[in-house]
């Protein structure tokens, strides 16, 4: 889409490399095959499934997860939510000069991903909707004589579907809607999402909705399960990295949610490829012939492209699941799809980091001057309003190597998780390894796709 915040991967030019870029794809595939053989030989029992959590000693473990810190973080989250809405509605409507779009699309949506992977589920503490929901629940409990009625039981069949729909809606705002990065649009979308979230929290309870249905809680929680940090009963502790994913309760909608996460990044990358730029005008023309005016027709074409990318990713994953099922073991496709969904999380991380790496690094710097002038009206609250973005922070070649590293490490982590889960699932270790031939094919496929997308963005 022709917006400031789309085409994020294209912020850097083609790199000058000693070998063709596609050879990196071959090398990455070889690394994955070697990793697969090493896992089969050296990893004979499920380790991540049985990993232990150990609390950090003394204040180090108790202070970060304490109630005062949680209240402070929640208040900061609510203040930032208020600032996004206020800046979006009252500030300049130039997306680059307003605090709201850069904060939402860059710092929040992308920047919180590596923060969650390193430090754990940080967003849970800062979640403004959870903070407001808990505060209202606490206040209402004191005012209402017999207490509030118990919330409804969260329906199992809903699972992660609300979060999948939420991530898809975010991708539509970011990649499909013309002017989706307009500050006013961002503010209104935030208000609508806040209203829906509060209604859902009132129905199903703040914690139940935050854990299963609330888009951003679910999204960042998935990434935080890679982290070695986890809070239990208000104590921060350590666990082996990735082991949080081994304890993920995948249910209805978990695999589709991950397909949306991967598919939206895929579409953003493919949006710059000649394959899509060749199809999009014809598709747009098709919708114009159906009676739509040019702009809605263009948006419909992009909606079809985004949906196709999500379905393509999901279809490829289900192909791997069908292959794993064909080796035996007596599991149905739905069980296997849920069982191996965890392996897609590090791949989603690899896609986000590889594709938006330079975007986060460059565009993220804008927050330095936007905090001083959030409305874009010429104010200079902290004396940083004249700061500039330093585009010399990283070169094209270094960026490519970082991107390849993210892709290879993410897919190797996915392979490890799938192998560990297979060992826990199948009684026969040989059958477990054979089932993973197909997951290896999925990993090699997603690796090739990721590097091809990056090469298109670098063109």
């Amino acid at each position: 889409m022709i917006t400031l915040f789309a085409h994020a991967g294209g912020l850097i030019g083609r790199s000058d490399l000693p070998i063709p870029e596609w050879l990196f794809g071959w090398a990455a595939a070889i690394v994955l095959v070697i990793s697969f053989v090493a896992l089969a030989v050296l990893w004979p029992e499920p380790r991540l499934e049985r990993a232990r959590w150990r609390p950090l000693p003394g204040l180090l473990g108790r202070v970060p997860a304490s109630r005062p810190v949680e209240i402070l973080c929640g208040a900061i989250g609510v203040a930032l939510l208020g600032l996004v809405i206020y800046a979006g509605l009252r500030g300049t409507q130039s997306p680059a000069a307003n605090f709201a779009p850069t904060f939402v699309f860059v710092l929040f949506w992308i920047g919180l991903v590596p923060v969650s992977v390193i430090f754990g589920d940080v967003f849970r503490a800062f979640n403004p909707w959870r903070a407001v929901g808990r505060a209202v629940g606490w206040a209402a409990g004191r005012v209402v004589r017999n207490g509030l009625p118990a919330p409804l039981q969260y329906p199992e069949r809903l699972g992660h579907w609300p979060a999948a729909v939420g991530v898809f809606a975010f991708a539509v705002l970011e990649l499909v809607i013309s002017g989706g990065d307009k500050p006013e649009t961002v503010a209104i979308a935030t208000l609508v999402y806040s209203a829906l979230t509060f209604v859902a929290m009132a129905l199903y309870g703040v914690e139940a909705w935050s854990a299963r249905g609330e888009t951003y809680s679910v999204y960042f929680n998935l990434f935080s399960r890679i982290s070695p940090f986890e809070t239990r009963d208000r104590v921060l502790g350590l666990r082996p990295p990735l082991s949080g994913l081994a304890h993920l309760k995948a249910g209805a909608g978990t695999a589709p949610l991950l397909a949306v996460m991967l598919g939206s990044v895929t579409f953003d990358g493919a949006g710059e490829a000649p394959l899509w730029t060749g199809i999009a005008p014809d598709l747009s023309k098709f919708f114009e012939n159906l009676g739509l005016s040019p702009q809605p027709a263009f948006e419909m074409a992009f909606l079809v492209g985004l949906t196709a990318a999500v379905l393509l990713v999901y279809g490829f994953y289900r192909l791997g699941v069908a292959g794993a099922r064909s080796v035996g073991g007596g599991f149905d496709a739905a069980t296997l799809s849920r069982a191996f969904a965890l392996s897609l999380v590090p791949i989603a991380l690899a896609y986000v980091m590889a594709h938006y790496f330079t975007y986060l690094l460059f565009r993220g710097q804008a927050i330095g001057f936007l905090v001083s002038d959030p409305l874009g009206d010429g104010s200079d609250l902290f004396g940083t309003a004249t700061k500039q973005i330093d585009y010399g922070l990283i070169g094209a070649t270094a960026t490519w190597y970082w991107q390849v590293a993210f892709v290879v490490l993410g897919h190797a982590a996915g392979l490890t998780l799938a192998h560990d889960r297979a060992l826990a699932l199948y009684d026969d270790a040989k059958l477990a390894v054979r089932s993973q031939y197909w997951m290896l094919a999925v990993m090699v496929g997603f690796t090739s796709l990721a590097l091809w997308l990056l090469s298109q963005a670098n063109t």
Partner: protein, 40 residues
């Protein structure tokens, strides 16, 4: 038109050679397994 841009298309296809090779190998292995099971 498409042949004029063959270099670009071939480069794009080159990225997917490993996964295509892998899928072919998996398919062949799968068929062999089924034959062995039905034969033995």
């Amino acid at each position: 038109m498409y042949f004029a841009h063959a270099g670009h298309w071939l480069t794009s296809i080159a990225y997917f050679v490993p996964v295509l090779a892998f899928l072919v190998w998996l398919g062949v292995t799968h068929i062999k397994d089924r034959r062995n099971r039905s034969g033995g």
